[in-house]
Symmetry: C2
Subunit: 307 residues, 2 copies
């Protein structure tokens, strides 16, 4: 390629990365539903955002949800404990599963996610994972960058190809292991468990993974509001180690030179939040140069959006 072609390819890459970050933070953009969402409050503290179409469904359950007031929806007075709140809301959600319009609930997981104003706060209640987007409740997870360094110092990264039968993002590229943080399970513990289950990485290797970042974003689609924070770990894998398909969520694993991975980030072949996790890796490990990448700071900002 000529140097002009190289520049044009870099510009196209940068533009696609910006598009990815904008899409994954579209809840913050002008024109999003944010202005019309109601705050979901427990004990006066905001724990989520309820889109208007959900808020109107909730008015059917006056024994659980108070009528919207001052831009907020809160729980009825008697629901004053972790257990009472969780069970009352879960009963509503089980009833709402019949609603055609709430397709997210068709993916009911029976996984309890903690609901709290901030990660450092004690949980106010738990909520079924598939329902969290209806309430814009923040979900936490772990993602692992699994990479190798050759004797000459070349970095390569292991990527998973999601199974075609996955409910979300079938067939797309993914990090080598990732998973949601369920109520009462530790962060590293979740990471080690996902390593074992998804990629058959034994605990003795997975334990060496190092926490290095969080990646945070909030997007919306017709189903609801997805506020997410991923705890990011890096794991240098032995050169002779190969991840192996574990629980069937993955069809296969491949290892690619880091510059190939970088190119793929700007395509539709990556699950979007996994592309963000890899982008964060590229920045932290100096594979992006602030003197030649004009959007360097915008990339960093886009990886760490919080309301």
């Amino acid at each position: 390629m000529s140097s002009l072609d190289v520049n044009m390819a870099q510009c196209a890459w940068s533009e696609n990365i910006l598009k990815l970050l904008r899409r994954m933070n579209n809840f913050y953009l002008p024109g999003s539903s944010r202005a019309n969402c109601l705050r979901f409050e427990i004990d006066g503290a905001q724990v989520g955002w309820i889109p208007p179409h959900v808020a109107s469904l909730l008015t059917r359950y006056p024994a659980v949800f108070r009528p919207p007031h001052g831009g907020a929806v809160s729980l009825c007075e008697g629901l004053d404990s972790y257990e009472k709140r969780s069970e009352a809301v879960d009963a509503v959600l089980k009833d709402l599963r019949k609603e055609e319009s709430l397709t997210c609930l068709k993916g009911w997981r029976d996984e309890k996610y903690s609901v709290m104003p901030k990660f450092c706060d004690p949980p106010s209640m738990w909520m079924e994972r598939s329902a969290t987007c209806l309430f814009g409740v923040k979900r936490y997870g772990v993602h692992l960058n699994g990479y190798t360094v050759s004797k000459s110092g070349e970095v390569s990264m292991w990527l998973a190809r999601r199974s075609l039968t996955k409910q979300t993002y079938p067939g797309l590229l993914d990090n080598v292991a990732a998973g949601g943080l369920a109520a009462d399970v530790g962060i590293k513990q979740t990471m080690v468990k996902e390593c074992q289950e998804e990629a058959c990485i034994p605990a003795a290797i997975a334990e060496k993974a190092r926490p290095a970042a969080t990646v945070s974003y909030t997007y919306e689609d017709e189903e609801g509001v997805f506020a997410e924070c991923q705890f990011v770990f890096d794991l240098e894998l032995p050169l002779d180690f190969k991840p192996v398909v574990g629980d069937g969520e993955v069809q296969d694993f491949q290892i690619l030179p880091i510059h190939e991975v970088k190119k793929l980030l700007a395509t539709d072949d990556f699950k979007p939040n996994c592309a963000m996790v890899v982008l964060d890796f590229l920045i932290r490990h100096s594979f992006i140069d602030p003197d030649t990448e004009p959007f360097y700071q915008e990339f960093v900002a886009g990886l760490h959006q919080t309301i």
Copy 2:
């Protein structure tokens, strides 16, 4: 210490770090002057925030600044080029140096900073460095984490102690090298220059520094609004290398085990933005554990605040 004492010490450390991040982002907090600031716009794009006390002074210069309109201040119509804008505003600033209330201009530096909506945009004008806080214009800089790794893997960090005659933050701890990004100077070029000038780190060593992050924040004080973005580099220094005082901005350098540096971060002994740069290093290099640090995600968010 008993394990209870250890826990209490950790809690106190975490609270102090949160306080630091809140202080450095106080422009975003409820009760800040933000609601009363005027947007500073050039060609319809916002390039800063003008505090009310500055806006009222600017009304004295109707040939340069239009009267505030729709919450914004913009330049007069004829000022339609980089040079014209820069020179007209500079003339105003030179006049305003006589104002007792504008103490920041007493630290006039004769350093030209670029003014632009975003770092990726072409600059709209330049502005004298000491005046940028009057217009809430974003300033960019570089900061270097200089560290060593012993044969047994122990990480230590070199810190500078600022000269007692420095105009800002005299006598406080600082990163081993840092400096502002002047108009038309590259990021790595600035870093290498500051390494040489401040710490006598030769270019052959400084060139090995690796870009790894940005740290962004906006704070206000009685003088104005400080919106800043620091490009962060890490440099592993040879074990037998010692930084040496260069241009007199530093009184001396010391090397400390990383856990000592971590403790110091939560004290008033650190220049606040340098403490943020070290905090980012601690997170990226796994010296903070998300399972035991409840504010992990808030720390990451606080290091990357942008409007």
